[in-house]
Amino acid sequence: MIGFLRGVGNRSLDRVAGVGRATLVLTAALWKVPRLSDVPLIVKQIYNVGVLSLVIVVLSAFCIGAVLALQFHTQLGKFGAQDAVGVGLALVLLRELGPVVTALLFAGRAGSAITAEIGLMKTTEQLSSMEMMGVDPLHRIVAPRLWAGFVSLPLLTAIFNVVAIYGGMIVAVEWMGGDQGRFWSGIQAEVDIWDDIGKGVVKSIAFAVVVTWIAVFQGYDTEPTPEGIGLATTRTVVVSSVMVLAIDFLLTLSMYGDFK
C-alpha cells in the first residue's frame, strides 16, 4: 500500500518535472529573437510542417465540408430551412471544427514528424555533437521548428475553412440544388469578423503553440533508444490531441461563455 502510494507520488513528481523541463526548453529556445540568418532555417521547417501537411488538410477539409452540408441539408430541410445550410456550415467550421480538426491533423502529420526527427537526432548524438561544436541545438534545431509551427497551423486552419466551406457549397448548391446567392448572403449576414473568424484564429494560434511545443519537447526529451523514439512519437499525438480538445473546451467556454 505504502509502495503503491509512493509509486503514485513518484509518477506525479515525474509529471511535474516534465512540465518544468518542457517550460525550460520552450523559454530557452525562444529566448533569442530569430535573426535574419535564421530565416532559411525557418523557411525549411515551414515547408516540412506546413507544406507537407497541405494535402491531408485540403482533402479532409473538402470531405468534412461536404458531409456537413449533406447533414445540415437533410436536417434543416425538415423545417424548410435549407437556406441556413451555409450559415450553419460556416459557423460550425469557423468556431470549432476548423481549428480543432486542423490541429488534430497537424499533430498527427507534422507533430509526430517533428518528434521523431528530433528524437532521432538525439539518439544518434547529432544534438550532442552540435553542442560540442559550440552550437546550441535549442536555437539551431528547436527554435526554427517552434516558429514554423506557430506560423503554419493558423495558415493551415484558414485554408481548411475556405476549402471546407467550398466543399459544402458544392454539395449544397451544385448537388442539392440550393441557391448560391442565398448561400453566401446568409453566411455574410450572420458571420461576424471578430466573434466567428477572429476567435477561431485565436484558437488556432493557441493550438499551434500547444501542439508544436509538445512535439518539440517530446523529441528533445526522448529516451535515446529506438523504442524511446517510438514512445515519444505516440505520446506527441496522444497528449497533443487531448490537450487540443481540452483547450478548445476551455476557450469556447471563455470566449462564447454567455450560454446562460
Binding site: 515547408y47 506546413g50 495558415l155 484558414a158 458571420v191 469578423i193 484564429v201
Partner: protein, 152 residues
C-alpha cells in the same frame, strides 16, 4: 536547386494561407471596408424578450438596419432593456417609433422590427423607445386560448 523548390512551395503556402484569411474576412464575414461604419445606439424597454439574443437583427420593413448589442434587466420595473446598434448617425427615426419582437418563420430566430412614427423629433444616440410590443410566447398564447375556450 532543391532548396529553391522548398522556398517556392513554402512561399506559395504562406501566400495561400494569407489569402485564405483575407478571403474569410472579406467574403465570409462580409466586412465592407469602404462603407460608412458609423452607428448609434438606442434603447427599448420590453415587458418580455424571451428568446431574443444579442446580435439578433433589427429591421425596418424587413430590411436589416442594425443589431441587438446588449440585453439587460431593470429589476425595479421587471422589464428588459434592449440596446440596439443602428447604422448611420441618428436623426432619422421619429421619437414615437415603435419596436416589436417578431419571429422568423414559426420556429426561427427572434428579431426586432421597428415601426417608424410621425413625430417631428427624432431618435439619437442614447434615446429610449417607449412604444414596444414584447415577444409572443407560444405557451402564453395557448394558455390564453384554453382559458377563453373554457369561459365560453
Amino acid at each position: 536547386m532543391l532548396m529553391r523548390t522548398v522556398e517556392i512551395s513554402t512561399g506559395a503556402f504562406v501566400l495561400a494561407g494569407t489569402l485564405a484569411l483575407i478571403f474569410l474576412a472579406v467574403r465570409i464575414s462580409g466586412v465592407n471596408l469602404t462603407a460608412d461604419r458609423s452607428s448609434y445606439t438606442v434603447m427599448a424597454r420590453f415587458n418580455d424578450v424571451a428568446g431574443l439574443q444579442t446580435r439578433a437583427k433589427v429591421s425596418i420593413a424587413g430590411v436589416t438596419v442594425g443589431r441587438v448589442a446588449a440585453i439587460d434587466v431593470d429589476m425595479e420595473y421587471g422589464e428588459a432593456i434592449v440596446s440596439m446598434e443602428l447604422k448611420g448617425s441618428g436623426g432619422v427615426l421619429s421619437m414615437d417609433t415603435g419596436a416589436q419582437i417578431l419571429t422568423e418563420g414559426i420556429l426561427g430566430a427572434r428579431y426586432i422590427n421597428l415601426l417608424p412614427g410621425a413625430d417631428e423629433e427624432t431618435l439619437s444616440d442614447g434615446d429610449v423607445i417607449e412604444d414596444t410590443q414584447g415577444a409572443m410566447v407560444l405557451e402564453n398564447l395557448i394558455g390564453d386560448l384554453v382559458t377563453r375556450l373554457g369561459a365560453s
